[in-house]
Symmetry: C2
């Protein structure tokens, strides 16, 4: 089968930042499905891993990354019960295994969902990783309850990015929260509103002042999809007592937790890979979440966040998709159709 | 009325570390009850505030602290609906107001509960502050569900202290968790077992090794009642993926949150005073929790954590109670009966 990978962590513009190669099509065992991949979408984790995984020395074999995928089940392992050959599926993968930048991929059925019927392949592949991340943050960690949380608010930092775009929709449609997103350009502001944000504030201005202007000087929940350290002090000030901050970004330096103490604040890390990485008992929760997202997309509650479609599974297109993602200015999701 | 307070933050052994004085009995308005105080119990917050509140200059009026109290409702404000004159009550107070080291005290009915009928005044006064802290940590923050959390474990750091003693009972009896407490002396180990701990491990030894020995190398939840910084690295290693750490202790330096990222860990501060300090919408939750604790004490599900009873509301007894608390070796709770 054909795959695209890298042996060295190189700037994306260099010739060998990605290389195409032939490799043996794997055989599924246990809970694994063998999926014939039809599309990928790219997330920040893609270029972060590409930039770091082979930084010190060249790898013997090319490393295949890529997580979001849509495809068709080609064959199944002996323990598989949720899918059968021919099923159309979508998933966000497992960071410990070979990725979806390949014609075929093995994937544990417990982290795979049914592809939304009413969406094109390209529209569908935009969803899994960001959808799982936003869903887990809102409903597994914060445990937003649309009844009990009536009238509560969430601030979404980086509303127009991949995760932000689906988080706005989920917070609004499923969480029934007042959604405040950050964006600074005319097109990103418009996009956030289109996703359903009640308010869009400019993160280049003073966030506290911007919040005051819209009558929400404090918020119950904050989803940080951009820069934990940079927003830390601001977040400690604008989060309401008993509030909850969730971040996906990581931090390079220790942070002063004491600033959150008097308000009894909760902080959570959301990493979509935790369940598969640690093979947690509730790993199949991702199967359920993906199927729920699928339903919500099919019935029109949610819409795809796909903005750019690149046609053809080529080194050139993968480089292009990474380029767009690395710019940090990407809106929604960038998709490669095989 | 008689009250005991301080004008200077002095070492407890100094003559004026506490002074007795006469002051006007206050009048209740709004949601306030005027309570004739019958007993106090002392917590670490008592000596922390005494040591810091008048450190720089002498106060004009003595500051009255003290939080845990049992007493009888003497009169009520116009908005009071939950209690009537003559009711026996218990509560943990409000850090922004004058304390319970006084013959009479004003207290908002929304943070007051019914005194357990089957407990003596001294037994009852041991409970409110520590009970609210442990209850909020387990059931409002971690949101332990005895059904869903079946088989899960909690590590309680400082099991024999005031909060630890009631937390062990609540985690076991209400949470149905496997409870591992830390203690190092023969009497504290015995006490933790008596409170219901399934295992007691020695915090002077390597916690990770101690946990391995009892077959629980990782735990789902950790309650830190002693030293967040000191245990930070250990906690990041022994907490299970998707686990939850709650601390009440504060930290003097920034902490490396990144160590918790791959496991998608949640960290919460629990401060029992948050609800009253910020007058949160759900402030009356403390009324409900105290009444629930009262029921559980009356029906024998929980038992009082009182260990030392000092008779008489005197400067001498208050100094003695602070002395015991400051030693850091206190087991359960120390009570002053008026």
């Amino acid at each position: 089968m054909k795959a695209i990978g890298f042996k060295q962590s190189l700037p994306i513009k260099e010739e060998n930042s990605f290389i195409e190669f032939e490799t043996k099509t794997p055989t599924p065992e246990g809970y694994d499905l063998l999926v014939k991949v039809q599309a990928n979408s790219v997330n920040p984790v893609d270029f972060k891993i590409r930039q770091s995984a082979a930084k010190d020395e060249e790898l013997n074999e090319p490393k295949v990354i890529g997580w979001d995928a849509v495809g068709i089940v080609e064959s199944v392992g002996g323990k598989v019960s949720k899918f059968k050959v021919g099923d159309e599926v979508f998933y966000a993968g497992d960071i410990t295994r070979s990725g979806s930048n390949a014609e075929y991929q093995l994937i544990d059925e417990r982290i795979v969902g049914r592809k939304p019927k009413n969406l094109s392949i390209a529209e569908a592949v935009a969803i899994p990783l960001t959808g799982l991340t936003a869903y887990e943050a809102l409903f597994d960690l914060i445990r937003v309850d649309p009844e009990k949380d009536k009238g509560k608010s969430v601030l979404i930092l980086a509303g127009a990015g991949g995760v932000g775009s689906i988080a706005i929709q989920l917070a609004k449609k499923l969480g029934n929260l007042t959604v405040i997103a950050t964006a600074s350009r005319e097109d990103t502001v418009e996009w956030c509103k289109d996703m359903g944000a009640d308010f869009v504030i400019n993160h280049h201005k003073d966030i506290k002042e911007e919040l005051k202007k819209i009558g929400h000087s404090e918020v119950n929940y904050i989803l940080d999809f951009v820069d934990l350290e940079g927003y830390w002090e601001t977040m400690t000030e604008i989060v309401k007592p008993q509030g909850h901050i969730v971040s996906i970004t990581g931090s390079n330096e220790p942070l002063d937790l004491n600033m959150l103490k008097n308000k009894s604040i909760t902080f959570s890390w959301e990493l979509m890979y935790t369940r598969s990485m640690y093979q947690t008992d509730d790993m199949a929760r991702q199967h359920d979440i993906l199927n729920h997202l699928s339903e919500l997309l099919d019935d029109g509650t949610l819409k795809s966040t796909m903005t750019t479609q690149l046609d053809g599974f080529t080194v050139e297109n993968l480089k292009e998709a990474h380029c767009i993602q690395e710019s940090g200015k990407s809106i929604g999701k960038n998709v490669i159709l095989f």
